[in-house]
């Protein structure tokens, strides 16, 4: 067995498995699935006040509207009225109190999508309005929060270290939220089955969550609900929990009517109803020396979570877990406030709090460099963790046994949280066993995890060289000395992102693989495809295990009836977890085939080779199909499940101690920008990215994640501005007002490279997760804009995000004062 480095074909830059379907318009999304002729369509009637008691609900005009079949309110729900992924605080239909503008109050069932949408606007709802808490300041004033008080992580003695330091630096940054703007809006289709069972097609990253919530709402066991997800038209975290409401109401309506029921949000409804990335305010107090070395650091992070808990606790945790990014902080205190407001319930978004935490520390480094008058890159390097030492690969040269399990004590100590066990919103006790005070020679994160794989020194060295950073920084200074109106800026920022679900028990995956008698292979696993190329990467693993062409592997829709108890495809974990599970299933079948064929030829099973579409045993060669047929005829089972659980992770999220992550993924980016000091208009001119995907399973798909992640991250920090009015109404609720990057916003010069060294941790083919980390390369754009603004004066720009033209102009005016 050779799995230390990726053998052919696991590393080919093959196109996305559905690319041909995409370009011909034949890839099916939920709304494209053929439905029975009598399929019904649903739409929600929405709250129009941000906080209030419903005093009267007159739906007569809704019922009388053309095409309306029925209208459902909370009173019509037969079982659980709850679509929360965490603590049962999210009603499907508001029964008494509304908590934000856009909260569903009733559901229209009509004979067309348009009829349902039209009727949904006709409800007459009276409220007794209550004061709405909309902002971080208002929430703090009212002590409106989740959890009893702030969560605090720390190491050393930050207060004493800051007091003893030669210099003190303080500051604050506001970081806006972000709308996912998946191109395919939320959608679900429920098909009633015999005996009260339900089949649901959902555009969801978390089919098991959908299954669980639908089963609760129908009052049946999970075995009565089957959820299928072939693909999503984008997810980005927005389809981890936000699809629950559509799937559940469709299932309830399908049960009630006996007919297929479909729901998709119009884009404006999607913006208005669903959660977004959490906006944050981060304040900092830094004790430092003359050179810019951080001696002590205190962060306070304020997260605006919206009205329901959803996944906000682990999001805010991850923000704390990335408050160090790439920097050694020996004396650090991180305080995190999870604030409850009468706005959409903020939810998962690529990076899951990590990006906000990382912006906080990058702002500190940038600010620090400004006050000590050094190139920010020098100050960053000065504070980096120490380079990894020793062997480049931990744990020997082979992947771990696929059945590797976490320490038993973790499983035995796990208690069900108050919510869905398979959701990141679950809050089980996770007090970890063992001593997390490592030896003195080991550098640790603020949560006491040793950093043993730190490769940013080498990566940054290479990027400085390939991007010509030093000369370009000088050229930028020369330009700025010359030009009165347009100023340039350039910045290099690093990324260190922790890989694993921080709710440790979610780090498991299952797979189901069949080999048919013609040698074709059916592959299924718990991961979902949202464009990231997971299915193709995992299919490449399966093909490699059997030594066949990837075309022999049929990729099939995620299906809770095939692989149960799946975790969300989230936390960048898709390939790490499902690739290992599929590998295990394939190896089980392969070992059975090898054993049988070896017996036939009086050879040892270990000498049977699966390669090039053939199986070689002793002097014999079989086509893979021949070998499969032979095994079938000799009653060898050609179907197997596979399972994987990430080893070695365990931590205590309350204390903030332990090893939440199996490993870190790294990256670095240089961005150059130009700003107009008369209008604040700004543009990214060039970006150079170097990203660590381990030994890439598919360099083409990984580069796609990196390019796309960078642009999405840069968009978050520049043009993508969410605006709520004083009543709590989201004013940017469509692409006409909310501006994601367009074609010309990508850097004109855009150089992207893979670091391409094997993961030190024993992951599938030594690859690394690549879904979320590249988004944070976009932070370099914000820092470059700050650099350009700084050229206009002497004070620190303290640019907030998103750095719209207006924010940039304001910052220019500040530094010119």
């Amino acid at each position: 067995m050779n799995n230390q480095r990726s053998p052919d074909p696991a590393t080919k830059p093959l196109p996305h498995d559905a690319a041909r379907l995409h370009v011909t318009g034949t890839a099916r999304y939920v709304d494209d699935i053929p439905v029975p002729g009598d399929c019904l369509h649903l739409a929600f009637g929405l709250a129009t006040v941000a906080h209030g008691q419903i005093t009267a609900l007159d739906l007569s005009a809704v019922r009388a509207a053309p095409g309306v079949i029925d209208v459902l309110t909370a009173a019509d729900l037969p079982f659980a009225n709850d679509v929360s992924p965490s603590i049962h605080d999210e009603e499907l239909l508001a029964s008494e109190t509304v908590h934000y503008i856009g909260q569903p109050i009733f559901a229209v069932i009509a004979n067309s999508h348009l009829a349902a949408r039209k009727a949904a606007t006709l409800g007459r709802i009276d409220y007794t309005e209550r004061p709405a808490i909309l902002t971080i300041d208002a929430a703090l004033a009212a002590n409106s929060r989740f959890e009893d008080g702030p969560r605090i992580y720390g190491k050393g003695d930050a207060e004493a270290a800051i007091a003893a330091a030669p210099h003190l630096l303080t500051g604050q940054i506001e970081i806006g939220g972000q709308e996912h703007f998946y191109l395919e809006g939320q959608a679900a289709l429920a098909l009633p089955q015999e005996g009260g069972d339900m089949v649901v097609h959902s555009s969801s990253q978390h089919p098991t969550e959908i299954q669980h919530k639908v089963a609760e709402a129908l009052g049946i066991p999970m075995h009565g609900v089957r959820v299928e997800v072939r693909r999503m038209g984008g997810g980005f975290g927005g389809k981890e929990s936000q699809g629950n409401a559509l799937a559940v109401i469709c299932a309830v309506a399908a049960r009630r009517t006996g007919r297929a029921c479909k729901m998709r949000y119009d884009r404006d409804d999607d913006f208005t109803i669903t959660g977004k990335r959490h906006d944050f305010r981060i304040t900092y107090r830094v004790g430092h020396d003359d050179a810019g070395r951080i001696l002590g650091l205190e962060f306070v992070q304020y997260a605006r979570c919206g009205w329901a808990q959803d996944l906000s606790l682990p999001v805010a945790d991850r923000a704390m877990l990335h408050a160090d990014n790439a920097y050694l902080l020996n004396h650090v205190r991180i305080e995190s406030h999870r604030l409850k407001t009468n706005t959409q319930s903020a939810t998962a978004f690529r990076g899951f709090g990590g990006p906000q935490g990382m912006v906080g520390i990058e702002r500190v480094l940038d600010h620090l460099a400004h006050v000590v008058r050094r190139d920010p890159l020098e100050v960053r390097r000065l504070n980096f963790y120490a380079p990894a030492s020793g062997d480049s690969v931990e744990g020997g040269l082979s992947a771990p046994p696929a059945s590797g399990r976490p320490p038993e004590d973790i499983l035995s100590k796990k208690k069900p949280g108050d919510g869905d066990l398979a959701s990141r919103g679950a809050t089980g006790d996770m007090a970890a066993e063992g001593d997390f005070e490592p030896g003195e020679d080991v550098q640790t994160t603020p949560y006491h995890m040793p950093v043993t794989d730190f490769i940013l020194h080498e990566m940054v060295d290479r990027l400085v060289e390939t991007s010509d950073y030093t000369a370009r920084r000088a050229a930028v200074a020369a330009w700025n000395a010359e030009q009165p109106v347009l100023k340039k800026g350039i910045a290099l920022t690093p990324v260190k992102f922790g890989i694993s679900f921080t709710l440790t028990h979610l780090n498991q995956a299952g797979a189901l693989v069949h080999v048919y008698q013609d040698g074709s292979i059916h592959m299924n696993h718990g991961g979902t495809e949202m464009g990231q190329g997971l299915f193709q990467k995992v299919a490449q693993v399966a093909a490699a295990r059997f030594g066949v062409d990837v075309a022999a592997v049929k990729i099939t829709a995620t299906d809770t009836g095939k692989v149960p108890n799946t975790s969300a495809t989230a936390a960048s974990s898709g390939t790490d977890l499902n690739g290992m599970a599929v590998q295990a299933a394939c190896d089980t079948i392969r070992d059975r085939m090898a054993e049988f064929l070896a017996g036939l030829h009086q050879a040892k099973p270990g000498t049977v080779v699966f390669s090039g579409g053939q199986v070689r045993v002793a002097d014999a060669r079989y086509d893979f199909a021949e070998a499969a047929a032979l095994c079938y005829q000799n009653r060898v089972s050609l179907s197997a499940t596979g399972f994987y659980a990430t080893p070695d992770i365990s931590w205590d999220r309350i204390a903030g101690r332990g090893r939440p992550f199996l490993y870190f993924a790294y990256g670095a980016a240089v961005t150059e920008v130009v700003i107009d000091t008369l209008t604040g208009e700004n543009r990214i001119l060039r970006a150079d990215l170097l990203h660590d995907a381990g030994a890439s399973l598919n360099p083409a798909l990984d580069i796609g994640q990196i390019e796309g992640g960078y642009v999405q991250g840069a968009g978050w920090l520049t043009t993508e501005e969410l605006v709520w009015d004083d009543a709590g109404r989201l004013r940017t609720h469509a692409p006409s007002t909310y501006k994601i990057p367009a074609c010309s916003d990508r850097p004109e010069i855009f150089n992207v490279a893979l670091w391409d060294q094997p993961n030190r941790a024993a992951t599938v083919y030594r690859s690394k997760a690549v879904g979320e980390p590249p988004l944070m390369l976009g932070i370099s754009a914000l820092m470059a804009l700050g650099h350009a603004v700084a050229a206009c004066g002497t004070t620190y720009p303290a640019l907030d995000a998103p750095a719209t033209g207006e924010q940039v102009l304001r910052a220019v005016q500040r530094v010119q004062e």
Partner: protein, 466 residues
């Protein structure tokens, strides 16, 4: 209502559909052609892009805000028709696969149709051709690589012969039975429209539907009686005489672009950023004026050029200065039954600069649109026409600023001397696009930009390279 068109080469006659049925809904729900996607239902994302062909050529348009009657006599090519009859791939499809241009794939059909249309038209300005197609996954780089790789490949056989000559239009759409929706009016000449509209002054006139489309798809408004103007060829003309440039109200922004590129290049540069290809192919100059929006981009430019608006009611015509058309927010100087027939402005030495300030450069509504037309002789300002969008309830001239600089030596002092005049001219609002303070600051800054550009300075971030 009965209309006919070609759909992927096949002649289709549609009857008994409401006049405001969108092409997108009809394709997906009635024809089950689900390759064309709904991403936003307001013409801003391009996932529903289709190619419309007629004797004026091939155009990419957003199917979500195209009403079926607008397609009478035209040829529609959807993504299903971009693919060859036996499943052969178009060069842009092959390139998108080879260059990894799709990830989630949902925006991809719209990109494919935009790319194939640009390919058919020989366009290689890919950033502009694809500005109306949003992608959230790829960061666009692989899509542009694909477009570039395909640009020199031959047009495939199955797309080359698209022709609409064999369609016989359904003609004047007729009302069906008693239960059928009322047939819209589809005049062929301006005279016909004038006569009909004088008798039906409460009717809704629809030209490109880039605005009215949203009244239907988002606001669910009942439009009452409707006239579709896109069949009126004689209202689309743009004529350039020795003294005047006259733009028919039915001219699209795409029609206007090449003319402005010749006479007022900075106006053309603004049009390049106006909406997107799909929007400019539909939106008309007349519509951009007649809807009275304070944030339309062409009125400030036209006002700065001294434009006259040509209104018509029946056989009666009336000319007013364009700036006087806009009375107040939502209120224009237009009588019932009267419509915009054309707009014209005098030929002049080009001194026009158009500054469109928005959160995003492409396909974004302006927070502030400032258009400056300042004449200078012997280093003294001799004339100034400055007009803004986004600074008031209507497109509006900056009269006080103009007066403050006219007669002054052209330089920084004149700009500084106008400082207070800006606040006299404009008391802008704060909204989701920008605050009032920012708008006023930007307006002031743009006069400085105009001066610096006159002095040869580099002032536009779009002109800077790394």
């Amino acid at each position: 209502m009965s209309i006919s068109f070609l759909l992927n080469g096949e002649t289709v006659t549609v009857a008994d559909q409401p006049a405001t049925r969108t092409l997108l809904d009809w394709l997906r729900d009635t024809r089950r052609l689900t390759g064309t996607k709904e991403g936003c239902n307001e013409g801003d994302c391009g996932a529903c892009t289709v190619m419309i062909s007629d004797d004026r050529g091939h155009r990419a348009l957003n199917a979500c805000i195209l009403f079926l009657p607008q397609l009478d006599g035209k040829s529609i090519t959807t993504v299903e028709g971009i693919t060859g009859p036996d499943g052969e791939l178009h060069p842009v499809q092959e390139a998108m696969i080879d260059h990894h241009g799709s990830q989630c794939g949902f925006c991809t059909p719209g990109f494919i149709v935009s790319m194939a249309t640009a390919h058919l038209n020989g366009r290689t300005d890919h950033n502009d051709q694809l500005a109306g197609n949003l992608c959230r996954c790829t960061g666009y780089a692989p899509i542009i690589r694909a477009a570039t790789a395909a640009q020199d490949k031959p047009i495939p056989d199955w797309l080359a012969p698209i022709s609409v000559s064999k369609i016989s239009s359904g003609g004047r759409p007729k009302a069906g039975g008693a239960d059928s929706p009322p047939a819209p009016y589809q005049p062929k000449t301006t005279d016909d429209l004038a006569r009909w509209y004088a008798d039906h002054p409460d009717a809704t006139l629809i030209a490109g539907a880039t605005d009215v489309g949203l009244w239907v798809t988002k606001q669910h408004r009942d439009l009452g009686e409707i006239a579709f103007l896109n069949g009126i060829d004689d209202m689309r003309a743009i004529t350039v005489s020795d003294t005047t440039i006259r733009i028919g109200a039915g001219a699209t922004l795409s029609d206007l672009w090449p003319v402005m590129a010749t006479y007022h290049p900075d106006f053309a540069e603004m049009i390049r950023r106006y909406g997107s290809v799909q929007v400019r192919n539909a939106a008309t100059v007349g519509g951009n004026i007649a809807n009275g929006s304070p944030i339309g981009d062409s009125p400030p430019a036209l006002i700065a050029l001294g434009a006259t608006l040509h209104l018509r009611h029946g056989d009666t015509r009336r000319d007013i200065l364009l700036e006087n058309f806009f009375i107040d927010y939502g209120k224009q100087d237009r009588a019932p039954g009267e419509f915009v027939e054309a707009v014209s402005f005098p030929r002049q030495k080009d001194r026009l600069k158009c500054y469109k300030i928005s959160k995003r450069f492409d396909q974004d509504i302006s927070a502030v649109c400032g258009c400056f037309n300042i004449t200078v002789q012997d280093n003294r300002v001799t004339g100034a026409r400055i007009a803004f969008g986004g600074m008031a309830g209507t497109p509006k001239r900056a009269h006080n600023v103009e007066q403050a600089i006219i007669g002054q030596p052209w330089g920084a002092e004149a700009v500084a001397g106008a400082w207070d005049a800006w606040a006299q001219d404009f008391q802008p609002l704060s909204d989701m696009r920008a605050s009032a303070t920012y708008r006023l600051d930007v307006a002031r800054g743009l006069l400085t930009r105009y001066l610096l550009e006159d002095l040869g300075g580099t002032t536009r971030v779009l002109e800077v390279r790394a």
